[in-house]
Amino acid sequence: MQVYHPTSVDEALARLGEGVVPLSGGTDVMVEVNSGHLDPDRVVGLRRVGELKEWDGMRIGAGVTWRRIEREGPKALAEAARTVGSPQIRNAGTIGGNLGTASPAGDGHPFLAAVDATIELVSSDAVRTLPWKDFFLGVKKTARRDDELIAAVRLPETLPSRQAFGKIGVRNAMVIAMVNCVVTREDDGVTTVALGSVAPTPMRATRAETMISSVRAPSETDLAEFQRLVAEEVRPITDHRSTEDYRRHGAGVLARRLLERCLG
């Protein structure tokens, strides 16, 4: 096995290529290694690349840890960060690693979808900035090419005034979401609803968004309709973690509660 420890993005890019595993916090890669599912020939360790840890306004470097986001991030992203794994996991795991793994249950994803974040991918000859929707291609599949590195996440210049994250799981800590969700709302009523763990990639409940965005002061009937639309729009499956029915129901309830928190 060959391992490289670049200290700059350029050096890291020079080592990338087919079959090379970029390693950030290791919290996903090492689970695969320990279970015998992955035995990489070449690894590029990114822990020493200072550039990837830079956080400049709305540009969050891929190597920024959940620990730091928990303390310094925008409200709903910080709330999401606080539910990632445990203190041990948050000290190691990064926002870029979360994107690289692209688990349908990634806790960072709903926020990025809710605010229409973009993902910055760099290769030795170009920088591509992809909308989140074009980055996630399927379960653990992304648009990143073998010669590219996830460099940063870019958030829009202004974020919605009210935002909330929530997650359903069997316990508070150390849990992979059955459903996770971010709801944002502007003073003029414009609302976004993004959900994870209920489709192969993070998704927006656009019909629910359109319906509730036109209502300034939602009534009980509006909230019930919003909840129903969210539950109708999600596309969950049944697996070892939950059932399709439970996820569908949970998605509606969770989105409604987060909306109520935003309205609160």
Binding site: H5, I89, M174
Partner: protein, 154 residues
């Protein structure tokens, strides 16, 4: 490849040939079995160490990626005849049952107190959320650390 790192204040080298974990390196190559191997997926916290100042699961650190790093394991915390205050507090409160999870709890608690000398009960619980005790001895563990937080000494 040969890697060098500092473990419990001592400079050590090891020959690593595959993508194995820092936990295996510590236990099998460096003769430090205090960090325990249980879930190998970061769920249980029994392999907790402090890597370059951060509490992490050593099972999720690729050993070769620890090249040049500073690691503190439970063996580097306290001595048999002069326990660390966390160890002393856990000993006095009877916060050890089978003992398997204890090293991980000790390391996580030492990390907590290093950053917050007087944590509340909720802060203690949140800081230990990544450590599992299969004997379910959480009550005594939290009481021990509350005692330490409140300065309830021997």
């Amino acid at each position: 490849m040969i890697i060098g790192l500092i473990v419990n204040g001592e400079r050590v080298t090891a020959n690593v040939s595959h993508a194995g974990s820092l936990l295996d390196l510590l236990r099998d190559d460096l003769g430090l079995p205090g960090s325990k191997n249980a879930c190998e997926q970061g769920e249980c916290g029994s392999c907790s160490v402090i890597l370059d100042g951060d509490l992490v699961c050593s099972c999720l650190v690729m050993a070769v990626d620890a090249e040049g790093s500073t690691v503190v394991t439970v063996e580097g915390i306290g001595e048999a005849d002069s326990l660390h205050p966390v160890q002393e507090a856990m000993h006095r409160a009877g916060a050890v049952q089978c003992g398997f999870c204890t090293p991980g709890f000790v390391v996580a608690a030492v990390d907590l107190f290093a950053g917050n000398p007087a944590p509340s009960a909720n802060e203690i619980k949140e800081a230990l959320a990544g450590n599992i005790c299969r004997c379910t001895g959480y009550g005594a563990i939290v009481r021990a650390l509350e005692n330490l937080s409140h300065g309830v000494g021997p």
